[in-house]
C-alpha cells in the first residue's frame, strides 16, 4: 500500500527524468535512443539561463525580506498584546488563502497605478516580483517562527532577565538562538516557495524579465522536446536539495 502511494508520487518524477534523456526531437515512446544533449540545450536557450538567474534573485530577496519582516511580526504576535492583533494575524496569513493568480492580477493592477502616479515601473521588474513573493514568504515565516516561539519556555527568557540581561541582550543571547532553527527553516522554505512560484508571477513578468517556471511554460507553448524534462529535472533537484536541508532544521511534515 505504502509502496503504491510512493510509486504514485514518484513515478511522474522518474518518468520526467527518463524522458529527459530520450534522443527523439518530439517526445514519443519508445525512445529512439538516449542522449544528454537536452541538458546542454538548456544552456543554449537564453530564456532558461536568464529565467534561472531571475528566479534566484527574486527568491533570495523574497527570502531575506520575508524572514526579517516575518520574524519581527511573529515576535510581536507571540510576545505582545495590542489592539488589532487578531486582525494583523489574519492580514499576514491572507496571501496563503487567496489564489496566487488572483493576488498576482491584483498586484499587477496596483503596479500599473503606481507607475501612472509616480512613474515608477514595478511590473516586469525585479523589485516588483520580489515584492509579490514577499507577500507569500511572510506568512510562511510568521507561521514557522511563531510556532518555534510558542515552543520555547517563557521562563527561560525570564531567567536571562533575572540574571541581569536587558531586553536586547535577552533577545540576542537567548531568544534568537532558541528560535534559530525556526528562522533557518523559514528562510529555506521561503526560498523554495518563491523559486517554484508560477501563478503569482504570471502577470508580473515581461520580456527579458521572466522567472524560470514561466520560461518553462512559455517554451512549452512552442516546443515539445525533452529540454522541458531536463529543465524540470534541474529544478526538482534544486528544490529537493533545499527541502532536505530544511528538513534538518524542522520536520517539514509538522508545518505544512
Amino acid at each position: 500500500m505504502v509502496t503504491c502511494i510512493y510509486g504514485f508520487l514518484f513515478l511522474p518524477l522518474i518518468f520526467i527524468a527518463f524522458i529527459s534523456v530520450f534522443s527523439n526531437r518530439i517526445i514519443s515512446f519508445p525512445p529512439a535512443g538516449y542522449t544528454l544533449q537536452w541538458y546542454f540545450n538548456i544552456l543554449s536557450q537564453v530564456q532558461f539561463v536568464t529565467g534561472f538567474v531571475m528566479s534566484f534573485q527574486v527568491a533570495l530577496l523574497a527570502m531575506i525580506f520575508g524572514c526579517i519582516l516575518g520574524t519581527l511580526a511573529a515576535i510581536a504576535l507571540t510576545r505582545f498584546s495590542f489592539p488589532g492583533k487578531a486582525f494583523l494575524n489574519m492580514l499576514l496569513m491572507s496571501p496563503l488563502v487567496v489564489p496566487g493568480i488572483v493576488a498576482g492580477t491584483a498586484l499587477y493592477v496596483f503596479y500599473i497605478q503606481i507607475t501612472e502616479l509616480f512613474g515608477i515601473r514595478l511590473a516586469a521588474s525585479l523589485p516588483g516580483l520580489a515584492f509579490a513573493h514577499i507577500t507569500i514568504t511572510i506568512p510562511w515565516t510568521v507561521r514557522l517562527v511563531a510556532s518555534s516561539m510558542g515552543g520555547t519556555d517563557r521562563s527561560i527568557e525570564e531567567a536571562a532577565m533575572n540574571l541581569g540581561a536587558n531586553p536586547w541582550k535577552t533577545f540576542t543571547k537567548v531568544t534568537l538562538p532558541l528560535i534559530r532553527p525556526g528562522i533557518v527553516a523559514a528562510a529555506l522554505f521561503s526560498f523554495i516557495v518563491s523559486f517554484g512560484n508560477l501563478e503569482m508571477s504570471l502577470f508580473l513578468v515581461g520580456p527579458g524579465k521572466t522567472t524560470l517556471p514561466i520560461a518553462i511554460l512559455q517554451y512549452l507553448s512552442f516546443n515539445l522536446d525533452p529540454t522541458i524534462a531536463a529543465v524540470s529535472v534541474v529544478e526538482i533537484v534544486i528544490i529537493g536539495v533545499a527541502m532536505l536541508v530544511t528538513n534538518r532544521f524542522v520536520r517539514i511534515s509538522s508545518i505544512v
Partner: protein, 355 residues
Amino acid sequence: MAKVQLRNLTKRYGDFVAVDDFSLDVADGEFVALLGPSGCGKTTTLRMIAGFVEASTGEIRIGERDVTEYPPYRRNTGMVFQGYALFPHMTVFENVAFGLRMRRLGAAETHERVAQALKLVRLDGHVDRMPRQLSGGQQQRVALARALVVQPDVFLLDEPLSNLDAKLRQEVRLEIRQLQQALGLTTIFVTHDQEEALTMADRLVVMDRGAIQQVGSPAELYDRPVNRFVADFIGHSNFFNGRVCGPGEFKMDTGAIVRFDPEAATPQGDVSVAVRPERISFGHSPAAGTINCFEAEIEAVTFAGPRLDLILRCEGDRIIAHVHNSDGNVATERHHVGEQGFAMWSPSSTRLVSR
C-alpha cells in the same frame, strides 16, 4: 544579602484580585516560605518581587532600594524556576557564567566564581555538559548555582523541588537549607507542600485566596493557628462549632461543654474549637482527671505505618484520632469498627480559631 520589605502589595487582573494587600518583612538571612493551596497567589507574589509581574499597588524594597518600578534585570534577585529554565543552548559552565557576563566580569574571575558555585552544589566535573545531558536533580543544582553565583540580594525559589522524586526531594531540601544557612541567604521560598515549608523555613506565611492568613514560626503556626483555614492547612484538625459560654468554656452545637485554656488568646467573632488528631486519645473508660471526655464510636480504622488513624463518631461529628503504633504488630487488632468508648483531650490541646 539584604532584607526585603513588602508593603501592601496587591495584584489585580481585571476584577480578580490575585494578591490582596500583602505586607511582609523578611530579615537579612531569613528563610521565609510562602505556603498555600493552588491558585492562592504565591507565584504571583514571588514574580512581583522578581519584577516579572507589575504590582497594581504597593511597594517593594530590597535592602535600602525601592525597586517597585525597577525592571527585573536591575533588581539583583536570584530566582530558581519550577522547571529550572536552564538555557538549553549553553553548557553548564555558560549557564552559570551568564549572570557574571551580564555584569561584565573579567574572564579569570568568571571562571573562578563559576567553579566555586558549581563546587558548592557538587557539580564540578560537569561543566561542559549540555543541560539535556543532565538528570533532573543535576539540572536543579545548575539552576541553584546559576542564581547564587551572582550574589543576589534575595534568593527566590518557586516550587523548586516539585519535579524531583520523593527521595531526591528530601535530599535537595536539606541541601538548600544548609546552603542558605552557610551563605546567610535571604530566601523566599514558594511551596504548596506543608511538610517542605515546616522543615525548611524559619518563618511561614500561610496564604489563601490572595491574602495572608497567618505569619509565624512553624511551631507557632502548628500550635497556635489563628483561624480554621490555618488549623486545617498546617497539619490536620478536628473542628467543633459552637460558641464561648464562659471563661475557658465552649458550648458545642450539640450542647456539650468543651473546656479550653482560658489564658490562651481568644479570637473575635465566630469561633470554632480545633483539636489535633494526635492530641485525642481513645479509651473504654474516662481516664482519671481528663476534663474533655465524650462518648465515641469507631467508624473506621486505617493503618498508617507509625500510627493508626481512628475515624470516630463523636458529638454528631466525624473526627480523626491518631494512635501511636508503639507496640508494633498488635496495634491493628486492638481496635475494631463499632467499638464504643470515649474520645479524650486536655484543655491545653483545645484551640479556639476564628471560622
